[in-house]
Amino acid sequence: MVNPGTEKIVAEDLNIYYGPLHVLKNVTLSVRNHEILGIIGPANSGKTSFLKALNRLNDLNPNCRMSGSIRIDGKDINREMDAEDIRKRVAMVFALPLPLPMSIFDNIAYGPRRHGIKNRKELERIAEKSLRSAFLWDEVKDRLTGSAMKLSGGQQQRLCIARTLAVDPEVILYDEPCSGLDPISTAKVEEAMFELKARYTQILVTNNVKQAARVGERVAFFLMGELVEADDAKKIFTAPNDKRTEDYITGRFG
């Protein structure tokens, strides 16, 4: 069982509704420090809703209601923390690369600047460190002032990861980060995720079962808003407890 001392995030009895739709049903799931948790499941199974609940991006949707609790390091994110603070600590990388329409450097510096870092030297240091961690530094170091919109899709996605790292989060959420990328770019993003393991807790939502198997240490399987099971990746992919999990990972549906 999960050792309480190493739990980073605990979601308990989480229910999410979009208007009349019940998109997440009684989900209880914990995430451990410095692990990569893969979340798999077919479309509309509630994976992304779960992810967006973890940093309160669901707040932006006025039709969204929620019950249950999510705790990070024991603190309830909805009742004991500001949305901005939780989003700073639990950052998110989106499905499509979303560079902001400004230069590469400004993209990275955007978060730190808003959080009060104005010193140019300091910003440059953060930019280099973040870009190195996201395996992008060598490709862009000569054109930091160029437009981020001119990068390739894979580069843009790693830029988004770097931008996320620049605000110094504790947890990184990935919402199908490779869905728009070619295999080589995907490999680079995955490589970056391994590299980041030492410092961050990471949660990867993907509908690519193979990617979850490659990257995830533990894997959770969602189906129609329910958490079917969550276990070590090895266990899920070799001897799942639930028949539905087996059907999904062997490609019988989804």
């Binding site: 991006l57 932006l60 989003r87 700073k88 902001l100 955007y110 959080h115 919109m149 605000v167």
Partner: protein, 283 residues
């Protein structure tokens, strides 16, 4: 005799085409007249000198300058007010009765007759707030008049900024206002400016709202402060064409042409700004 559908169509289309000609020909005629009769009046002195001999000679410089002051004053007041109102409606407002009330109010502001704005400006700014007949009172009156145009254009510009930009920023823990200030507004700015210039170009040509709030019949000097009266091109044209006898038509047409040119330069500026962003838009 019954007409075949084909013939009916031919007749109907000819009638519609004719109607379009009837609409468009006067536009061409108006411009030809203005240019033909107004252009000979325009020279350096006409644009830069004070009027002389009871406005029957000399230039129209104070009227041009006055209109510029009013345009600037209108921008200074209406732009922030209009943009922030649009920010409220696009970024903060929920779908409820209050939002609906605001929308209805904007629609109605857009429909208030210009002379009623003049009365309102007289009642509120000139008399009640004791600004007197002044550039300040005139600019404020014009600002409220163009507010609906600026709000509508700004709303459109703000809504056209992709939602994903907002999410990307918010996901970094950046607050909502900072997101609006640093991401949404800069990206909506060109659209906002286009709408503002169009609104202000309307203000530049209006006469009725400034009639009782700022316009001076004859004031051959430049205003010294915002509490001064000033001359303005549209009012000057009105004065020249109805209030002063024996004015050389050349001066009247010249003034009309300068006014139209000024309005069109502003419109042209808006088109240039719009074209410029269309070319540069990256998403």
């Amino acid at each position: 005799m019954k007409l075949s559908p084909k013939w009916k169509q031919r007749i109907a289309f000819s009638v519609l085409g004719l109607a379009s000609v009837v609409v468009i020909v006067p536009v061409i005629v108006i411009f030809s007249i203005l240019i033909e009769k107004g252009l000979p009046a325009i020279n350096w002195e006409f644009l830069t000198a004070m009027p002389r001999m009871g406005m029957r000679a000399g230039g129209i410089f104070p009227a041009i300058a006055g209109t510029m002051y009013l345009v600037l004053g209108t921008i200074v007041v209406a732009l922030p007010l209009g943009v922030l109102a649009a920010v409220y409606l696009v970024e903060y407002a929920r779908q409820n009765w209050m939002t609906r009330m605001i929308e209805v109010a904007i629609v109605n502001l857009a429909g208030v007759p210009s002379v009623v704005y003049g009365l309102f400006g007289l009642g509120l700014f000139v008399i009640f707030l004791k600004f007197g007949s002044s550039i300040l009172a005139g600019s404020l009156t014009l600002s409220i008049m163009v507010l609906p145009v600026i709000i509508t254009a700004s709303k459109e510009a703000l809504s056209s900024v992709p939602q994903s930009f907002r999410e990307a920023s918010l996901a970094l823990g950046v607050s909502k206002w900072q997101t609006i200030r640093c991401i949404v507004l800069p990206n909506a700015l060109p659209g906002i400016l286009t709408g503002t210039i169009l609104g202000v170009s309307r203000a530049a040509g209006e006469t009725a709202p400034i009639l009782f709030t700022v316009a001076a019949f004859y004031l051959p000097r430049l205003p010294k402060s915002v509490f001064d009266q000033c001359m303005a091109l549209p009012y000057h044209l009105y004065v020249l064409s109805t209030q002063v006898p024996n004015v050389n038509p050349k001066i009247q047409y010249g003034t009309a042409l300068v006014l139209v040119a000024l309005v069109f330069i502003l419109n042209f500026l808006a088109i240039v700004v719009r074209a410029h962003i269309r070319g540069k838009k990256q998403w």
